[in-house]
């Protein structure tokens, strides 16, 4: 009986792992679609290497940093040794009622790479390839697992009187990525030509079907991301999570649609796409705690927020080609906060804990990634030369074109 349920739960966790994996294709498609064709090979290269690097780093140090074991309960940092070392009970319900040690590792490893991929979009079209890859090694192998340990690994955020709550990672995944994205975009500066004296010059993405494909794949993957975060196939909770996740995504689309039509009198596809992701990120922290109505409100506000955040970044001349910061940082914070406002956990103490979590995670991630980008800038150099940027990274860093048969417009 126990074994049978174990088999089911573990099966769901493995399938959820596959679904989270495909989110990497979602990110690659979205980011490639929302940037220019002269940098497409570069973005695809980064987003292909990131899961590879992320998986390997997570195997070498990440998993041990994030889940160092009971000895580090309530701590800020822990480490249980290099490599993956299955305990004796690794494949039995004694390890965990919901999954084997291997499932645990691979499900978690798929998350690690996500945070780095989020950054990839914000620094696109101007960052040096090797510098970025080194940053990816560092962020996936160190920064993400350390933050993850604070809550999911039993660290100090979990040990608060009213524990910080982040169901599937509005903060622990998305805003960890979002803060890195913000730091990267600031250190790098905007793409050439984006901000001129007479205002913002939009740099349109080159492939809308690709961007749309990316968002649908991300929504699909989110069923595994949020649904898998139940850590079992519990029928009631997982199915509720499917509903709240979908409703928030749909409401996010509506929010962005209405906000961008109201503001700009136009139907901007990229805003609606961002709105869906905004809804998804917003619900992620509390997907198992919300009613359908609350999910709709949280998603809708997320969608509206993303639109305003896009405008605000442009005001600040922070250039984020794909909207990673509005979606993952802005809505990551909003979603984390929403756990204290809506749903089963709502209340003052929870809001307090959520604010602590948001603050500590933000301070740590921004400081660490800003520092890392700053150092890399001083040593290896962070940004490609002006000529390379104008001609495109594809031909300069890769010697290839993404669409060699097609006639493309100059610059």
């Amino acid at each position: 009986m126990e074994d049978t349920l174990f088999t089911i739960h573990n099966l769901w966790m493995m399938i959820a792992t596959s679904m989270v994996f495909i989110m990497h294709l979602g990110f690659a498609s979205l980011e490639a679609g929302l940037t220019r064709s002269k940098n497409t090979v570069n973005i695809l290269f980064k987003n292909t290497m990131v899961p590879a690097v992320g998986l390997l780093m997570y195997a070498i140090v990440g998993f041990s940093l994030m889940y160092p074991g009971k000895d580090f309960a309530g701590a800020w940092f822990g480490f249980s040794g290099f490599g993956v070392n299955p305990p004796a009970n690794a494949l039995t319900p004694a390890y965990n009622a919901g999954y084997t040690y291997w499932t645990d590792f691979i499900f978690q490893a798929m998350f690690a790479a996500t945070a780095v991929t989020i950054i990839s979009g914000a620094v696109a079209e101007r960052i040096k390839l090797f510098t970025f890859l080194i940053f990816a090694v560092f962020y996936a192998g160190f920064c993400y697992p350390v933050v993850g340990m604070w809550k999911w690994g039993g660290g100090f955020l979990q040990a608060l009187a009213t524990p910080f709550y982040d169901f599937a990672g509005s903060s622990i995944v998305h805003s960890v990525g979002g803060w890195g994205a913000l730091a990267g975009a600031i250190v790098l500066g905007p793409r050439i030509g984006k901000y001129k004296k007479d205002g913002v010059i939009p740099i349109p993405g080159h492939n809308m079907p690709l961007a749309t494909t990316g968002v649908f794949l991300l929504w699909f993957g989110w069923f595994g991301f949020n649904g898998g975060s139940v850590l079992s196939a519990n029928p009631g909770i997982v199915s509720l999570v499917f509903v709240t996740t979908s409703i928030a995504a749909a409401a996010g689309a509506m929010g962005a649609f209405i906000a961008s039509y109201a503001l700009f009198k136009t139907n901007d596809l990229t805003m609606v796409l961002n709105g869906i992701l905004a809804g998804l990120v917003s619900i992620t922290a509390g997907a198992d705690q919300m009613s359908v109505g609350s999910s709709a409100i949280i998603g809708f506000i997320g969608g509206v927020l993303a639109v305003f955040a896009v405008l605000a970044l442009d005001k600040l001349k922070i250039d984020d080609p794909v909207g990673a910061i509005p979606v993952h940082l802005g809505c990551g914070i909003w979603g984390t906060l929403a756990v204290g406002i809506f749903g089963n956990l709502a209340g003052g103490a929870q809001i307090m804990s959520q604010l602590i979590g948001i603050g500590v995670i933000g301070a740590f991630c921004f400081a660490v990634s800003f520092g890392a980008f700053f150092l890399l800038n001083k040593t290896m150099g962070l940004r490609v030369s002006e000529t390379e940027e104008v001609e495109g990274l594809d031909i300069n860093e890769h010697g290839m074109r993404s669409y060699s048969d097609f006639v493309v417009n100059e610059d």
């Binding site: 913002v200 740099i203 700009f264 136009t266 442009d314």
Partner: protein, 110 residues
């Protein structure tokens, strides 16, 4: 002989091709070019911007001198809408034309 470079709206291409063919203008090459002019407002992620490029079609035609008037008339008739942007015709003289296949020259090459 004359060479005419005719810049017209792309929507007029099909008609122009047929009518020119009818009056026996057979050497007829066309390509896409751009001109500056006010175009649609575009929007992207909350920012509006003006697209100041308008597409035109450039037709290149070589004709004998006695066909000049008729050709001009035909283009004028077919390509005119009366709105700004109907385009221009530029007439230049040609010294020589060769048909590569046969080596024929000038009028015989057209």
């Amino acid at each position: 002989m004359k060479k005419l470079e005719i810049y017209v709206r792309s929507s007029k291409m099909e008609d122009l091709k047929k009518e020119l063919h009818d009056i026996n203008v057979n050497f007829l090459i066309f390509s896409d070019v751009k001109a500056y002019g006010k175009n649609h407002d575009k929007h992207y992620r909350g920012q509006a911007y003006v697209d100041d490029v308008v597409k035109k079609v450039k037709l290149e035609v070589v004709i004998s001198d006695d066909m000049l008037e008729k050709t001009i008339e035909t283009v004028m008739k077919v390509a005119r809408t009366g709105d700004i942007g109907d385009g221009k015709i530029v007439v230049q003289s040609v010294e020589r034309v060769y048909r590569i296949r046969t080596g024929e020259t000038d009028i015989n090459a057209l």
